[in-house]
Structure formats: C-alpha cells, structure tokens
Symmetry: C2
Subunit: 455 residues, 2 copies
C-alpha cells in the first residue's frame, strides 16, 4: 500500500509556534513611524493591536506557547494533511518525490485562519469588542470573519469596491460568519468620504481600505485593527504549518531537498519554511533550497530593492525594511490577488538579503498550466496563488527527470481555488493574458521611498 496522505493525530499537533527571531543570523532592522519617521514603540501600536501581539512582534523567545483556547479552535480543522503526489510524479515521469502540505481544507479554504484565530483570541482576552480590517479579494476578511465568529467579536471589513462588486462570493462568506462587509471607499470614515467627494465612482484600492480600517480602529475605543500577513507575529502563527509538516515528513521517512511556496506578503510560505530553515542555520541541512515564487507582474524579490518603505500604498502604515517595488507600485490585474503586494515580509526580506533563500518570478499563463496539470492528476483545484508554487515544483521535478536525481520536493499548497474558477475559465478558453513589466515602471515607483534618518 502506497500511503498518499499523512494524518497527524490531534494529540501530536504542535503546541508551540516557532519564532525564527531567536535564531536569525543578524538582528532585524526596527520599524519606523510613518509620520515622525522615528523608531516605532509599543505605545504607537497599542491603539491598533493587543499587547500580546505587540510583544510577539519583537519577541526573541524561540518557542511561543499556543494558548489552549487557540489550540481548541485549531482542532476544528488541524492538523492539515501532508500528501504524497504519486499521481503527479507518475504523470511527469520523474524520479523526484513530491509532497504537498495542503491548507485548503480549513473552513475558510486557506492558511489565513492560522493567524485569524489567535488574533481574534488575543483581542478578546484584552476586552476588545470589535475589530476593523481591510480585504482585497476577500481571503483575509473571510478568515478573520470566522475567527471573530468563534470568539464573539464584532467585525467590520472594508473591502476594495471593485472586488466587492465583482466577487460577491467572499462577501457572502464573511456575512455568513457574521461580519459586516462594506465597499471601500465608504461614507463611514473621513478617508473614504474625502475620496468619494473627489471621485464618486472610485473603484478603491487596498491602500485606501487599510486607511479606512485603521481610522475606524483609531477613532473607537472598543475597536482594534488586524492585519493578515507581512508582520512578524503573523508569520509566527503560520509556523504551525511547518511544525506539523516536520512531523509528517518524519512519518513518511522523508526530508525535503527543496521547499517551494508562493509569496505575496509572505506569511503562508514562511509558515512552512521557517521551521525548516533552522536546520540550515544549524548546519544540519546546509544545502536545503527554499524557493519563493512570485508573479512576474509583482516581482518584489527578484526585481525590487531591500529598503525602508511604507507597509501600505497610502503611506499611513509603519515603515519597514523589506524587499519592495515601492509603495506606489500598482501591479497588473493578475488573478492571484493574494500576491499583488508591493512589499515583502521583513523576515523573508532579511533572509533573502542574507542569501539564505531563493526567489523566482513566473507568468500567470504558466501557473494555470501547472494548476490544470495538478487538477487532472491530484484532483485538487488550487488557488491561483499556490499555482505559482506548483509551476516551479513541476519545473524542479522535470529537472530531476533529466538529471536522474530523486530529490524530495515539498510544496506549500496554501489554499483551494473554488472562488477563482473564472481565472481557470480564462486560461482554458485561451483568454488569459501575461503582463510585461518594463524596468521604467519599477524605477518610477522606487523614487518615492520614504527617507529614514536612522535607516
């Protein structure tokens, strides 16, 4: 019998998150205040986040206990399954061993609940009654809606208007879990009203939606703000993925030579690879390859710079040192909405700058070709984001076919594509477009980086 799925019993579910800040070869650069340009302190973040998360953001403790109440909720969908892709291997006729850890079986269909749940929990514990957040295509908003439903917190989601109009399904998800979701720009904030006055038909943007959510949280005592990627504490919560995978790979008597994942803000892939990179730090597995895959339309790592930049487009969020295309960069409208972010998680940026991880950029036609091959062999319809990982994993497996090497490839498969079928339709009907990105467009956005006196 060939075991194609590795289940981990709930009694063996990891009870601690792994904090890579304990093991980073160099300390992380500090955050700066977007207004004052001074180093950011806990007091700057207190109106937005619960103190426990602010502490986690800078903690250098190696292991952080997952609260019992969070473990309880994790156990409604975790541990997720590690799959061996026998059928894909056979179709590729490769000696490579391909594994994928699949987060699409969470109720929200992606890895996002791994951080939505603890964020809701810590807010609840601090007496917060209400959270405001923004969402683009709706993956984060829906995961947080579920997290808030579980802990009895009211949630208001500012959803970019064009997505709100074009993608009603994720809005309905949020409402089913009890959240209120309104199109941004809205009349509920000053930022929204100002924009609507200037441009009544404004389609919205993630940057503006962030501004609205932050303003909402800043102006109400009972309300906090919540972010679904990029920040250290978000990556920390996602390490449950890799910690589980380590145990499951051991069950499979396997160890990865290559780990592949897609990166937007970076939290999904960091959640998988951070628990492995410590073996690279320690020298246990020096030649471990970690490959970040990003869209050619938003090549933060492969074509961006490592510099201080605002976390949001509007220049209201903290300034972080990260790989960035410039906060004013607007990526082409590719279907992988979750990868359309101008920056990259500071932790991933630092590791990339240190040469410890690789990055590659791919076009969307190629990623859907990989997605369809995956669907026809393994069955799963992956989201456009993880299709980026599939594309590069398949390329690596085909290299193994040529070289005859039986490498072990581990894929971070972050979610399903059930709400992205129109993208598959576009691909199958030959209507999918690739977007060239001239150097001058990147250069232009990079002229607008903030200046940090201390940076």
């Amino acid at each position: 019998m060939k075991r194609a799925m590795y289940f981990l019993d709930q009694k063996d579910m990891p009870t601690k998150w792994y904090n890579v800040l304990a093991d980073m070869p160099e300390p992380m650069p500090p955050y700066f205040h977007p207004g004052t340009k001074k180093p950011l302190g806990p007091e700057d973040l207190a109106p937005l986040f619960p103190m426990e998360l602010i502490k986690q953001e800078v903690s250098t403790e190696r292991w952080i206990e997952i609260p019992e109440e969070v473990q309880d909720v994790y156990r409604t969908y975790r541990p997720t399954v590690l799959h061996r892709a026998y059928r894909l291997e056979k179709a590729l006729d490769t000696p490579a061993k391909i594994f994928y850890k699949y987060e699409g079986t969470s109720q929200a269909g992606s890895h996002k609940p791994n951080t939505a749940i603890p964020q809701a929990y810590y807010n609840k514990k601090e007496g917060i009654k209400r959270i405001a957040t923004e969402t683009g295509a709706g993956q984060w908003g829906s995961a947080l809606a579920m997290g808030c439903a579980f802990f009895g917190i009211e949630l208001k989601v500012y959803m970019v208007r064009i997505s709100y109009d074009q993608k009603p399904y994720r809005r309905i998800l949020m409402e089913t879990w009890g959240a209120r979701c309104i199109p941004s720009p809205s009349k509920d904030t000053k930022a929204g009203r100002d924009m609507l006055e200037k441009w009544p038909d404004c389609p919205g943007s993630l940057g503006l939606a962030i501004s609205e959510a932050v303003e909402d949280a800043m102006t109400r005592d009972d309300t906090h703000y919540s972010l679904g990627s990029v920040l250290n504490h978000v990556l920390l919560h996602q390490t449950i993925i890799g910690e589980e995978t380590r145990k499951q790979m051991e069950m499979a008597d396997a160890y990865p030579d290559i780990i592949v994942g897609c990166v937007g803000g970076g939290s999904n892939f960091a959640g998988q690879f951070l628990p492995w990179i410590r073996d690279k730090f320690s020298g246990k597995k020096k030649d471990l390859r970690i490959v970040c895959v990003e869209p050619e339309s938003c090549p933060t790592m492969t074509r961006g710079v490592y510099a201080y930049d605002f976390g949001d487009t509007a220049g209201m969020a903290p300034i972080a040192k990260m790989h960035t295309l410039g906060h004013s960069f607007v990526p082409a409208p590719i279907h992988a909405g979750g990868l359309r972010y101008h920056g990259m998680a500071p932790i991933i940026s630092k590791l990339y700058d240190l040469g410890l991880i690789d990055a590659v950029a791919v076009h969307q036609t190629a990623i859907f070709e990989a997605g369809v091959k995956f669907a026809r062999t393994e069955g799963i319809i992956a989201g456009p984001e993880p299709c980026h990982a599939l594309k590069v994993a398949i390329d690596e497996a085909l290299k193994c076919k040529e070289s005859g090497e039986a490498k072990t490839i581990l894929i971070a498969l972050s979610g399903h594509g059930h709400f992205d079928l129109s993208a598959y339709d576009a691909y199958l009907s030959g209507k999918l477009q690739d977007f060239a990105l001239p150097d001058k467009e990147i250069k232009k956005a990079l002229t607008e980086l903030p200046e940090i006196p201390e940076g």
Copy 2:
C-alpha cells in the same frame, strides 16, 4: 485535550464495500424495462454499463472487494475525517454528543467521487473510451469529470441549460478536469434537436438531459452511460463512508443512537447508514434511529407512495419500485438542487417500507438557519443539501437538552456549499422563500405511474 477530529490511517481504510442486499430482510423487487414492461435483464443494461457494475447491481455477496486501482485513487482524499462538534454542542447547551463525517474535503467537494472513481475504473477496464452523462446543478458531472481524468476516459456532460447558464462555476470545474460540458437540450442528439425544434429557448430538464446522455451512449460503441445516485451499485460504492465512520466512532469510543442525513436519490446517506443498519438487523442495536431528511418541496418519502415508477422524468429509464411523487412531478426551485428528485433509491425505499428507517421533511428557510448556526460554530459552510441533516440533528440535540439525555448523534455531512453561496445570501438578506406543496399537485403526478403487469 479534547480530540475534535478523528483521522483514520490509510492502512486502515476499508478495502471492501458493504452490500446490504446480502442482509435485506426481504428480497428486492426487480427492475422493469421502460418500453416492454418486462423484467430487466443484464443484456438490457449492457449497452449502458460495464458488466462488473451490472453484476454489482444484483449481487448478494456481503462484501465486495474494492479494486486496488480504485483504492489507489481513493487514497488521494480518503479516509475522510470524522469530527466531534464540540463547539456546536456548547452553543446548543446540549448534553448530546454530536459527530459529523464530512465528505466535503474530496477534491470535488462532495461524496460523489466515491462512486465516480469506481465507475470510471470499471468502464476503463472493459475498454470503454468515452462516457456520457447528465448533470443538473453540476455536482455529479464534476465528480465524474475528475474520475474520468484519473482513468483517461473522455467525458461528455449534458448539463441542464438553465443551470449551465446560471451556474458557470461547476461547468468550469468539469472543463478544468478535462470534460466537455454542453447545455441540454443540444443539437448533438435527436432528443435534443426535437426539443429545440419545438421550443428553441427550452431551459432544459434533468429528464431531457438523461435522454440525451442515454441516446449518446446507445448510439456509439465506444461510449457508456453513467448514473450518480439511486442505483444499488452506486449506494454500494458509497458504503466506504459508513465503513470508515464505524472505525472512527470506535476510536472515539462512541456509538450512534441517531444517524441523520439528507436524501435526494439517497446514495450519500445510504453510504453512511447501511454499514450501521446491519446492527439493527442482527439485533445488536435494535433501537438505532436512522432519519432521512428531505425537502418539504420534494417529500418523496413522507408524502409519496411506494410504487413502480420510471427512474427519469421522460419515462426512458428503467422502472423501479420506490418511494415516488410520480416521474412527472416537478419540485419547486429550492436551492438544494441535489434533493430535487421525484423518486428514492430502491434500497432506501424498501427499508422505509419495512419501517426500519424514519423520514422527515423540512423547509429551506429552516435548513439555512441551521447552516448558518453550524458555520458560526464549526466554521464549515455546508451545502444546502446537508444543511437539511444539520437542521434535524440540531432539533434532536435540543430535544436532548429538554430531556437531559446524552444521546450520540451522527450527521452525514455530504459536502461543502462553496458553489451555493448565493443561497446563503438569499437567506441572510431575508429573500429566501419557502414553498407550500398542495396535496393536489402530488395527486396529479401520481396518476401517471406506469402499470407493471407483474408488479
């Protein structure tokens, strides 16, 4: 630690389907030919089905080996998980223990692949190159598309035109898995052309789509037909669900007092309860309650008759003795498309006629109320069909709260509702409609039952 998910290792996955025909208290009534009205023989079915399935349809062997090749494919998504619904129990404040076996993690999102895969396999083994089938909302068509992709069989799906136009997502799923899906009525068959000539804008019906698929299969030597519910061999394949659940309930040190599931054709719920009903036959658990839940708009069991009737609306499919509302009965357009079938699986009908199982009918507003409660406690957005089971399971748990009994309730949760969110939207916005069904409508359809000389 409260274990909320029970995983079954793949080495413990059942290797045999359970055939209830070996243990039925009375023999099953035979099928009759729709044209000649004579008992149906294997030769009548040979142009449509592979011989192995025709044998399974009438076999009285208690255990039927699952072919290795089918087990291999099952292992891409099975065993599925048994959940303990701690959070729902707490929200209901009930002493009842609630479990649910969830089939929504299959790649197609429902239990349908459990039969699609062996059907594709047996056809492949008999040298069949191509299959034709029909689909209403698209659940069966998409599952069979995946099954056919896995075994390299060409598939053509005749999809009821109104669903084809209104629900493009399931069509895209089928195409992603490589099937061809066209709206019915089509110009590709005589049945379709005749209809289009009379009525060019005909929205189609499941009956007509069946006629087109059957004609397609009858007129091509390389092509067979495939059906996704009702028939004995389909129920047989689904028993993998209940066989797994038995092992998982043992892991949980629990045994159900009540098993609840929704019924359309009946295959999903039969797949769960048939492996348990043998304990009722044998006297080991005489008081086991098995509750079939159907829509008030299509109350086949609670308001239909046990009589011979055509399997399809057009009167071209075999005649079976079953609970039926009459083959010309047209259910109201409720959102649970998978439950809009005029008849019921002959095995379920027989067991109900013998008084061994119960049935209850519910309205759609009530089932979405239950679905939203489930989403906000357990997280999963269930399909409208299994929301029927949730409604009755919650009612039973609330009865336990009143009586103080700690009954064990097992729910057959057949699939997710990711493609049914517009129905949740209608419920949440107060636009959902319940449909009264006057007796005279049922009476009218029942006047058209076929006469069987031997019946």
